[in-house]
């Protein structure tokens, strides 16, 4: 009888724990899927090379529900198709640069305009992306895709510029972070072009740094530094994430403490028992 009462007490503890876990992952979890709820709509046959027409078709089918007919933008919610009330900025004049960046990183398309864009999966093929870029660039004169040359950059300048302009959000080793209301992504795994585009565009909640604030030469240095953080100089051994004392504390308690406890158990255990 005592064992049954013990089981019920621990079972109650289990319920509380499960409830806490469910609470934390359910309504609190920020879900951002970068795809329209109905999936990508594409024509049955596509041309072999990127074309403006293909871009126009893809745009109309996948983007205009938020960005409006011919990319003129939708700023007032109206009953749209399906259950998504589309809202999106105008794309006139954003140029090839913005279209290339958002599509290649998977930040666009976005399932819900109120969600935070995240670079989940790239849903368009390279040809489709080029077509869409042609189309968006045609909507109005805007910046072209940049061609950075980070090999000409200076690592030390890059580190200093990154620290003063970027690390506040992206963390000193570009491991990402938090700004009130949004997640700031880590910067590992981006191409030089994507980094340059992001700096010049200021996507989502990021500031926009034009060439008068960060020159092309400075941008080369920043890109050089950011790319070096794909393989930080972890001379001390296992880098444990390069984000500082949190993983260090985890190592202390999950690796060092068990090893020390084992040492105590081995030393303190009696020979004859």
């Amino acid at each position: 009888m005592s064992r049954i009462r013990l089981q019920s007490a621990t079972r109650r503890a289990g319920f509380v724990l499960a409830a806490l876990v469910a609470l934390s992952t359910g309504p609190l979890g920020a879900s951002a899927q970068a795809q329209p709820p109905s999936g990508i709509v594409r024509p049955d046959t596509e041309p072999a090379k990127p074309t403006l027409e293909l871009g126009s078709e893809l745009f109309a089918a996948n983007c205009s529900s938020c960005h409006g007919i011919a990319g003129k933008g939708i700023t007032k919610a109206r009953p749209g198709a399906g259950d998504v009330s589309g809202l999106g900025p105008s794309l006139r004049g954003v140029g090839a640069q913005a279209a290339d960046f958002y599509l290649r990183t998977g930040l666009m398309p976005l399932d819900n305009p109120h969600h935070e864009p995240s670079n989940d999966r790239v849903l368009f093929s390279d040809k489709e992306i080029r077509s869409l870029v042609l189309y968006v660039a045609s909507l109005g004169k805007g910046p072209g895709i940049p061609a950075p040359t980070p090999q000409r950059g200076n690592m030390s300048d890059g580190a200093q510029l990154f620290t003063s302009d970027c690390a506040g959000c992206h963390q000193e080793d570009a491991r990402g972070g938090y700004v009130t209301g949004a997640r700031v992504p880590p910067l590992q795994g981006y191409t030089n072009t994507e980094i340059a585009e992001a700096v010049r565009i200021g996507p989502y909640l990021m500031p926009r740094f034009t060439a008068s604030q960060i020159s092309n030469a400075q941008l080369d240095s920043i890109i050089k530094y950011v790319q070096s953080q794909n393989h930080p100089y972890n001379r001390g051994g296992w880098g444990i994430g390069n984000i500082g004392p949190i993983p260090e504390g985890l190592v202390t308690w999950l690796i060092a403490a068990p090893l020390l406890l084992i040492s105590c158990l081995v030393v303190g255990r009696r020979l004859r028992r």
Partner: protein, 476 residues
Amino acid sequence: MSDAGDGSVGRPAGKDPLADPVRFIDERTAAAPLLRKTLGYLFPDHWSFLLGEVSLYAFIVLVATGTYLALFFDPSTAKTVYHGSYAPLDGQTMSAAYKSVVNISLTYKAGLLIRQTHHWAADVFVASIVMHLMRVFFTGAFRKPREPTWMVGLLLLFTAFLEGYLGYSLVDDLLSGMGLAIGYGVGLSIPVVGGSMMLGIFGAPFPGNHDFWSRMFIMHVFVLPAVLATLIGVHLALVMARHHTQFKESDRQTNSRIVGLPLFPAQTFRSLALMLFVVGILFLLGGLVQINPIWQWGPYEPWLGTNGAQPDWYLGWLIGALRLMPSFDVTVGHYTLIPNPFWGGVLFPLFVIGVLMAFPWVERWLTRDTAVHNLADRPRDRPFRTAFGLSFLTFVFLVFSFGAADRLYVLFGLSYAAQLTVFRIAVFVVPAIVFVITRRICRELQLAESLDEVHEQVAQLNVEAHEVQTETTNSG
């Protein structure tokens, strides 16, 4: 050997390598009785009684590695330019202190190993004190006559916090510089006198004057290690004065009879082994797992900040508390009586140490128990104490956990604002639940044990009754 009666002993026929040194020492110091007593000092044998020793050995590693580092560290904030093999820093202006640590890490052969071992030893030092504290708490080893030992131990814990904080702040890197600014802000938040105190300690408003680094340095390499060493000495002396508690595992062990291994030879080899295990594990960590790669953080300037800046783990409870507080300063007229950081940065840690310090006396008062206790409790034997301890630990742990909420957001997408709301409630509700459940479990375990005893006694009576019955049937 002949004895002339005046204390001198004639030269023996052959030399005895054991007897001669002992005789030499006793003739010069009259210490043979003390040696006899010390060598025979008894250590009750349980693995959980070794946790305090682990802290001691971590401290020894800290002093040894720290001395080596101090031979290379330059405690100066004078500006200098780094020119070296690490490209991101090449040509950057930085303090001489930061540059000396970059050089220790990147240009001296064993500099990085010793620096990392030193830092791991600091993290482990505090962690082992916490584990030791928990063992002492949950076995009731803080009761009379060991209340002063407990209080000295708490002073050791909090001095260790300060010592570690000063140690990693000396490096003047971006992360620890931000932490130093926060320390300044917390100090300023002490009502009325905070401003004066911080001006006195820093020598000027933040970032302080050219003396401030010398002060941190001397505190970290001399004053606080001396304080720690003295407190450790007092702590060990107190332990030895009344001897160590023991679990009651045999009938020989009572509140007045101690059973254990003698210091020499049994415990000596065990303790030496444990010491070298601890030192070995720390050097393995120092070689294999990177800690505080300050060359990646860059030098500190007051106008720079990085996301994800954190203090070392043992101050994580303070960053959690600072982040949990709602936004308000308490003002009286146009005077600011209680700036916001005071609650999380000063009152919260004072509350925790206050509760811990007072606990032996409060328990004494609540249980009306003024007897001497040399026997260690099992946690289940004191449901209220165990439940209170786990519940208090849960409270501190939840505050501590919130300090990492932003990284949880980055990793798992858990909304920071939502975590904030949940944690503000959970830090009060969950400890209460833990208290109730823990007390219940303890009582259930005790009940199960006494029922097992009753069953045994019943079974024994049945056996005896059966024997009596067989006897009477046989004889009848």
